[in-house]
Assembly symmetry: C2
């Protein structure tokens, strides 16, 4: 009659600790200890085997909800990313997830967009202790950081910086941009343009800084007319180029584009306007992506260690969670420039 206790594996109900205990004829505390491989446990080998066998047979899996409640740990990390289509974020979340599961954690990915602003998503994530810690990739809003602090949620800023905040792991966009500019200058270009993302955002600011530093290093003047902002759109990038072609100081001979799609849009528009790439205009993407290699001409682009970034961030976060070690900031140097077909020496000797 009481068929709920003798065949839980067959019924729909998942097996619980207690089911195993009853069948094995021991207390559930014993089962719990055996299952978790407690070191200081004294139990006869025979008993241990019996428990393990029964647990396996019933397909017992500890209930993560109960576990989370008791342990005050969900073993889940959260990350919120803007635009999943951006290959850099794809790489980051892939490596972050991998690093997390390697250490027994799960990664909860949330996508921000217009009607799901990032701040709200972070709040959803941490509200009710859904995650043990978060990777912050979308914002460096000091208010958010302060809130995480207050709620005692561990966090790491990934590719973002916040004033007075050291828990920041970033990729060196300024150095990468400096190097891209150096490449172009080395090819003999003297009038370089920058088509950047929004200059109000972190990455936009960093790229502008790198652009200016690169110019200075090459002894070239900075012309504000050759800096344009766009929102990473393909058409938009073309518009920006078109506008710069009639700059008072003359058109640029090379442009640094924020990323591969901006570079692609720039190239497409250049061609439509009768400019050959790379012969009349060189283009380098300040951030590589699959599109760069698939374009014609293939686009020279700067590469960054995003995979390492995700991995380091997760490991720093987990270290902080488990050993309470301070998460130390790091900045990773660019991987290098993938030279493809979109840049050309202006004055071949």
């Amino acid at each position: 009659m009481n068929d709920s206790s003798d065949a839980p594996a067959r019924s729909g109900r998942a097996a619980r600790l207690d089911d195993v205990a009853v069948i094995a004829g021991v207390a559930k505390s014993t089962v719990s200890r055996v299952m978790s491989g407690e070191a200081t446990l004294s139990v006869r080998a025979e008993t241990r085997q019996r428990i393990l066998a029964i647990a396996a047979e019933l397909g017992y899996q500890p209930d993560s909800r109960a576990r989370a409640l008791r342990l005050r740990r969900t073993h889940t990390l959260g990350i919120v990313v803007p635009e999943i289509d951006n290959p850099a974020f794809g790489t980051i979340i892939r490596s972050a997830q991998k690093a997390a599961v390697a250490r027994g954690y799960s990664l909860f990915i949330s996508l921000a967009d217009k009607d799901q602003p990032d701040g709200e998503l972070y709040r959803r994530l941490v509200a009710g202790s859904r995650v043990d810690g978060v990777l912050v990739t979308t914002t460096s809003d000091p208010a958010l950081v302060a809130e995480l602090r207050r709620r005692a949620i561990s966090y790491v800023l990934v590719n973002r910086e916040s004033p007075g905040e050291t828990a920041s792991i970033i990729v060196d966009y300024v150095d990468g941009t400096v190097r891209a500019v150096a490449h172009l200058a080395g090819l003999g270009h003297r009038r370089l343009a920058l088509i950047s993302g929004p200059l109000g955002q972190y990455t936009g600011r960093k790229r502008l800084e790198g652009f200016r530093r690169g110019l200075a290093a090459a002894g070239l003047p900075f012309d504000p007319d050759l800096v344009a902002e766009c929102n990473y759109g393909w058409e938009e990038a073309g518009d920006a180029l078109a506008a710069m072609l009639s700059a008072p100081g003359g058109p640029p001979t090379a442009v640094c584009a924020a990323n591969a799609v901006v570079a692609s849009g720039t190239i497409a528009r250049a061609r439509r306007l009768g400019l050959a790439v790379p012969d009349d205009l060189s283009v380098v993407a300040l951030l590589d992506g699959p599109l760069a290699a698939m374009s014609a001409p293939a686009i020279t682009a700067m590469q960054y260690p995003f995979e390492e970034l995700g991995r380091l961030a997760v490991n720093a976060l987990i270290d902080n969670l488990e050993d309470d070690t301070e998460v130390a900031g790091r900045t990773l140097p660019p991987l290098g420039l993938a030279e493809r077909e979109s840049t050309y020496a202006i004055d071949p000797l």
Copy 2:
């Protein structure tokens, strides 16, 4: 001395139900009821206001772990996707997440890859009741489906079918392919090729079926030499094209490529081999993506309602969870062919 009870909002500890109850001078059952807006509750308006005010002041958020344990519901749905870079999956998870949060759920996204095979990920997801239900997008492995059944986990197959399984919401790849073929045939093409993804996989099979049906509808013969398989690689697609150019029955004048990157690779190789696109070779992508519009020439491509797909799947899953309604299968027709620049009438009259 007992400073843990008077200022939980200031201390690091998150406020609990009990904190609110003690301060408000009521039992926690009352607070719980007020917070959840229980309909059949009789409580004085003044008491209710007081409780609400205190909860707000303390920043009380019910602990989701305790809630999940008691309610036996996590209000979280799981989805595992292969290759995040595929824009179709990006659209699906974006709309799925949006639909989920609109109904008070969260979406747990997991990324499959070589060392994280999908089956294992699904198991991680459902093990320990981490999620209430799953969206299955990577596999139609009957064993997995059977396991979900056995564990009494709700699920919906998204863009996958499994024998004997009706809980499947899909996009009509065969009709879309038929229509792409009809477009090409209407342009006067007589020798059409198919560069598909792996034919052993669901989408590959569907596209081959559509290709054959489209050919038959146009009264054209099917030539096995003009069907190639690739693993969605750009270079690979070019290799497939190159091989088909020397087919015994003559080279194709048009090719249906699995998706935008395959189409792009096909076009790039065609050009390298001296063929103009679209003049000498027309190319249509059987699945649109951002790359299609950014290529030169822009690639004509078939579009599907992936956004709707994700939304419908999530809603069906939640309906099933909450009202125990059977999830009914659906197949969504393609949105249509975006005609761009890569297809050309072979015999302009």
